[in-house]
Amino acid sequence: MKELVCIVCPNGCKIIIDDNGDILNAKCNRGIVFATEEATSPKRTVCSTVATTFSDFPVLPVRSSAEINKIDIPACMNALNNVLLDRRVGRGEIIIKDVLGSGVDIISTSSMQYTYCDVETPDDGSKDNA
């Protein structure tokens, strides 16, 4: 028997795989798919950062565009640690294509355009006599 927690949705069902390989306690089908995969080849989305050359945005958050094999996470982190980004990217842009030959890309999860005060700051407050 094996106990695991389904991480597909926030319900976090405690799923049991019994000795016959039957999957119990999953509230929905996605949970059954997850438990089957967990028992054979577990996968995770990797979320991390890569370094940039910009002092106002020293690291850029990134993630894998799909799940990768759990055992590949350390190698993936290594690949991310070797990146030094010298251009301002938008959200969703590919940072590493086909990481570790997995078919999955590493993409930016933030737009570097949203740095300091690029939204208009109207100077319309009545000044206080400070």
Binding site: L4, V5, C6, I7, C9, P10, G12, K14, R44, T45, C47, S48, T49, A51, P58, V59, P61, R63, K70, I73, M77, R91, T109, S110, S111, Y114, T115, Y116, C117, V119, E120, T121, P122, D123, D124, G125, S126, K127, D128, A130
Partner: protein, 416 residues
């Protein structure tokens, strides 16, 4: 300058509230003290956000930037690097005082949406004795260093408290090459979500020690070790269970509290259980014209609910009337920790109320009962309820004929 609505705070709650008020044709000002919009989600780079609102598993930055994109399409005025210091009530509404690089100034507004988020409890609030070396951080501060500054603040650390942010940081620090010796929780049950226990601790072989706490910290300038002890059911350390663990970091994940300095400055009534303002179904606090949304109202575990409630608060803030309120309390009885809203204004529509609640302890096969004047008018069965997980209920209170004299209560009881 005059605005219909001023939103204080540019996190997910403030963004959603500003967009919603703008859609109702209100003139809106959004004030944020930081240089970038997005609030705490800027540093929440892990995924899991947006399942309810977008049906997708987004990271924090992706989630909040969708709203920033939308906000920038509107004519909402935005002030960044602007800190609201004080609110003053006057005949036409409120004067919002702030400071920024141009100095101190104020604007006039008819309505306010408080969306200032929450802050983390710190060592002082959990009574850690000993010296004050550096190396003691809240989980949010550690998250800020790693995810926004790209710095690893610890090499070998202990995490005190099993809150979600601590669990997420246990994984994050491990992935970045730090050693997380273990997570220590004083209570007999973990306070984080099961999915985070599984994918943040189990995945990386990080042990969770329940009924344990940090009793002392060592080190002059930098932390060198902590003392851990087992605690009894009254959370008192048990003698002779002390253990010294060498480490250069202690990360605190002992809970969040709504940020309410501004609300308190204008004497908005605070709910002693949520630590946020008491509000009605329109998210208006007990002070007319002052609305509240997101983590400033009560600590949410899902940002999706933050957005949903902020949309309501923003929309309602655009329609401020002089109609007097007729308030009825929703009394949280046995099994219920709190409800939001905790009061209903029966002079306003009550046919479509979203009620958020938390169970006061873990309950299995629990029956939720809504009573009006002692009569059970609505029941719902839950297979399992845990305090860390907030529940959401849609209720049509109009069908129960509630008046200001009604007694409305909600309770939870375990049944067979």
């Amino acid at each position: 300058m005059n605005y219909d609505v001023t939103v204080i705070g540019g996190g997910p709650a403030g963004l959603a509230a500003a967009i919603a008020a703008n859609k109702e044709n209100a003139s809106v000002l959004l004030v944020e003290r930081e240089a970038r919009l997005g609030g705490i989600l800027k540093q929440c780079i892990h995924d899991g956000f947006g399942l309810v609102t977008f049906g997708e598993k987004l990271t924090g930055p992706e989630y909040c930037e969708r709203y920033i994109d939308e906000l920038l399409q509107t004519d909402v005025s935005v002030k960044l690097l602007t800190f609201v210091t004080r609110i003053e009530k006057n005949a036409d509404g409120f004067a919002i005082h702030f400071v920024n690089r141009e100095g101190a100034a104020h604007v006039q507004t008819r309505a306010i949406v408080l969306a200032t988020g929450c802050r983390e409890r710190t060592a002082k609030q959990v009574f850690i004795h000993g010296t004050r070396p550096s190396g003691v951080f809240t989980a949010g501060t550690a998250q800020y260093y790693v995810n926004l500054m790209g710095e690893l603040p610890v090499k070998r650390c202990v995490i005190l408290g099993s809150g979600d942010i601590g669990l997420i940081m246990a994984r994050r620090l491990t992935m970045e090459g730090a050693e997380v010796i273990g997570v220590y929780e004083a209570k007999p049950e973990p306070s984080g979500l099961p999915r985070n226990l599984y994918q943040c601790l189990d995945d990386f072989g990080i042990p969770l020690h329940l009924s344990h706490t940090v009793t002392r910290v060592f080190g002059d300038e930098r932390l060198t070790a902590v003392e851990i002890a087992q605690v009894d059911k009254n959370m008192r350390p048990i003698a002779n269970t002390e253990k010294i663990i060498e480490c250069d970091g202690l990360i605190l994940s002992v809970g969040l509290i709504p940020e309410n300095e501004l609300a308190e400055s204008i004497d908005v009534a605070i709910d002693r259980r949520t630590k946020g303002p008491i509000c009605d179904q329109k998210y208006m606090t007990m002070e007319k014209g002052v609305f509240c949304a997101g983590n400033a109202l009560h600590v949410n575990d899902l940002v999706d609910y933050v957005t949903l409630s902020a949309v309501e608060a923003g929309r309602n803030s655009a329609y401020l009337t002089n109609k007097p309120r007729a308030l009825v309390h929703v009394v949280a009885e046995e099994g219920i920790l709190y409800t939001v809203p905790s009061v209903l204004d029966v002079n306003e529509p009550v046919s479509d109320v979203t009620l958020y609640f938390r169970a006061s302890r873990e309950l299995r096969n629990a029956m939720l009962t809504l009573r009006v004047d002692g009569r059970a008018v609505f029941q719902k069965k839950y297979s399992v309820l845990r305090p860390p997980e907030m529940e959401r209920l849609k209720l049509n209170f109009a069908q129960y004929g509630i008046t200001t004299d009604s007694e409305v209560s909600l309770s939870l009881k375990e049944v067979e």
